[in-house]
């Protein structure tokens, strides 16, 4: 089964690639990036004293074709037209003005819905302007005029739009994201189900985690408490969630060893969750009566006041082991420096990349980024958590295959003059779409 999986993935990826290459060939209208100038602005250009265009017979832009904009909610239309005599008088040409009215409407109903300054082509996407929305299913009439610098406006003929705006049920520019999401979902759920069926899963040892038991044992020997800081963030932070799972396991060990535990909190909700987790752990360890309700407490919400408080605890109680697991910000350095002076074993773990250097240089063990998430699975040994780690590993394996292939193809392109790298890159390139 494990061997079929990579094969399946490859097929899926290939399918995705094929699908997306096809889709690449569809004409996607260029969306204007630069702000359009308003009509007034263009008109404000002072006219020359004697217009060089006086008496010249100018052709207006014509051949208007209106298409529904693909991949939208039905609020945009693509208006293309062919140029008139602007090319001949390119120096004097200023902008195209696009007018719209409901099909068959009166002359008063013509609305200026957009201005395209010179150089922006002859394709206009109508509907971006929130003041002049395109309504779904409504039939419109368009006309385009060419505006010259001397304020001559050459009006084109009105054309009833060939198509009406309609909404689509799937965004074709998002195929790759969808495929990636599906592969991800598939892998995670595949390993979930394997885990549930009781497959044994190997997780490599993580140094910081191996040390937890030893650290708790040491605290017991020394008769000193254990300090556990579940980070400073709120409950929606993934690091906090991982940390609370680890807290449950640590608390259980602590309960078994009959050591004391100190858990200061910064977030009021995290505090209530942590309290419940510790209580539960004591219950599971069969020692609900040794649970001390004062061991988990809410300290303060102010970041630095919190640190000052925890520092005070470290200096007074001299815990044998400090755990800093979860989300930390600037306070990491102050915590770890004080802790290292108090002589405690320090085990830290966070996904805050900016704080990791300080933990690494001042703590005994540090869980780096994803190791923190893995640690919660490793400790809980819950099949679903283990399955999710497995699933993530296979996702990383796919990325590694792509990166290796990219490197090899780049060398091959260099040696053999082929174009394989851009082909590969195309498979994973997502467009900027909304």
């Amino acid at each position: 089964m494990t061997r079929i999986l990579p094969l399946l993935l490859l097929i899926l990826t290939a399918l995705a690639a094929a699908q997306t290459v096809e889709q690449e060939q569809q004409p996607i209208p260029a969306e204007p990036e630069i702000a359009e100038a308003s009509a007034e602005e263009v008109l404000d250009i002072p006219p020359g004293d004697i217009s060089p265009l006086a008496g010249v017979d100018l052709t207006a832009p014509g051949d208007i074709t209106v298409m529904d904009h693909p991949d939208d909610s039905g609020d945009r239309l693509i208006v293309s037209f062919s140029p008139g005599s602007e090319a001949e008088y390119a120096d004097l040409f200023a902008a195209y003005i696009i007018y719209r009215r409901p099909a068959g409407g009166s002359d008063e109903e013509w609305t200026n819905v957009g201005v395209m300054p010179v150089g922006e082509g002859t394709q206009f996407v109508d509907g971006y302007d929130p003041d002049f929305p395109v309504n779904i299913g409504e039939s419109y009439e368009y006309r385009v005029s060419a505006l010259y610098l001397d304020e001559t406006e050459v009006m084109g003929e009105p054309v009833i739009a060939q198509e009406v705006a309609s909404g689509q049920w799937f965004h074709q520019g998002k195929v790759r994201v969808l495929v990636a999401c599906l592969i991800f979902l598939g892998l995670i759920f595949y390993f979930f189900s394997r885990a549930r069926m009781g497959a044994t899963m190997y997780l490599r040892p993580i140094a910081g985690i191996e040390a937890i038991d030893e650290a708790i044992g040491r605290a017991t020997e020394m008769g000193k408490p254990i300090l556990y800081v579940p980070g400073l963030s709120d409950i929606s932070d993934v690091a906090t969630i991982a940390s609370l799972t680890i807290l449950g396991r640590v608390a259980r060990k602590v309960a078994e060893y009959q050591t004391s535990l100190i858990v200061p909190n910064r977030d009021p909700i995290v505090y209530t969750v942590a309290e419940e987790a510790v209580k539960q752990a004591y219950l599971e360890a069969g020692r609900p009566d040794s649970y001390d309700p004062n061991s988990v407490f809410f300290l303060t919400q102010s970041q630095f006041a919190f640190v000052a408080g925890v520092n005070g605890i470290m200096m007074r109680e001299k815990p044998a082991t400090n755990f800093y697991l979860g989300m930390f910000w600037a306070e990491s350095l102050i915590l770890a420096e004080t802790g290292s002076l108090s002589g405690a074993i320090q085990i830290a773990g966070t996904d805050a990349v900016t704080q990791l250097p300080f933990f690494i240089t001042t703590c005994d063990y540090t869980l780096i980024g994803e190791e923190l998430y893995a640690a919660s699975a490793y400790l809980s040994r819950e099949p679903m958590q283990m399955g999710s780690i497995k699933g993530l590993d296979s996702c990383k394996a796919i990325l590694m295959v792509f990166i290796t292939a990219g490197a090899l193809m780049s060398i091959m392109d260099l040696l053999a003059g082929t174009q394989t790298l851009s082909w590969l890159k195309n498979i994973v390139t997502t467009q900027i779409v909304d």
């Binding site: 929130p130 005994d364 909304d434």
Partner: protein, 333 residues
Amino acid sequence: MKENIWSRMLNLDRRWIFLFIGVVCIVPFFFPFGLPVLPTAHVISIFDYVENLGPENAIFVSFDFDPGTDPENMPMAVAVTRHAFSRHIPVFFTANAPLAQGMLESGLAYITNPALEGYFHVVSWQEWAQYRDQGITERDQLEAAWEADGNVLPANSSGWVFEGRDFAKLGYLPYFSLVILGMTSSIASQYPEDMNGNPLVEMPMLQEHKSLRDVDLAATFSGTAACTWWITYGREKIGLPVAFGVTAVSATDYTIFIQSGQLIGQMGGLRGAAEYEVLLQNAGYFDKPDRAFIGMDVQNAAHLLILFFIVLGNIAYFAGGFHKKGALLKGRR
């Protein structure tokens, strides 16, 4: 464990170290050596980008930091805003947190403080109402009409800034990532009015730039990962060009976005701000650089001291034999 010179040194009361760093950070203010700051590629790319914009474009300057990182983020935000004001580029000011809105106000107060050399003189939304009613909203015409009526620019000022024409204070909204997403279709739907309760839809710059699609740059100044919202929700959705001004601490985390092309450029920490100030000076916008540049002198001294501490600390650690297991403090591994 025997007491020796190394252990005595390492157990030195840390207040002495605090005193050292305090002194080293104060003295250079009185004896500046003014070493040059050479602009680097990541900052030059932002400067050049803004340099190519004008009154017909518009940018967002988002104050996404709180007072904690004010000394790092504020000079960057100020430098970019002054650049935009000098070029008459309309600027939308936003903030991603309640405290950040306070920073936005304090930053604008600094840029527009009449007591300072090179400030920008604000003409509030109400003050130029009559010109608006006459239909004068175009930048140059407005300034001409305004000055024609006897308004004289003070000598120490760099120029006028008309509220609603040159800038709009949008301010803070919660769940700011969703606000960015919402602004991709319409700015006014997210912000019916500005921070002072002025109607945004009536402002000329809002009429010309109705959604983020009509905006040419979003510069976010941030001390947290919130700056990436502009990439995830702005750049990835509608291709909005984004520039970062981040604290030195997080600067190295975001260079991957420059490499991947999702970011125009980045100012990292005080140095990034100093580089921008130097670029502004070199381009002739202002006579002298601002506060960040002055701060770089102090950085020199402080960095040397920290380097000295690291080296000395490690020498003491190894020479004193503390690297052997259990030596430093009793019971410590």
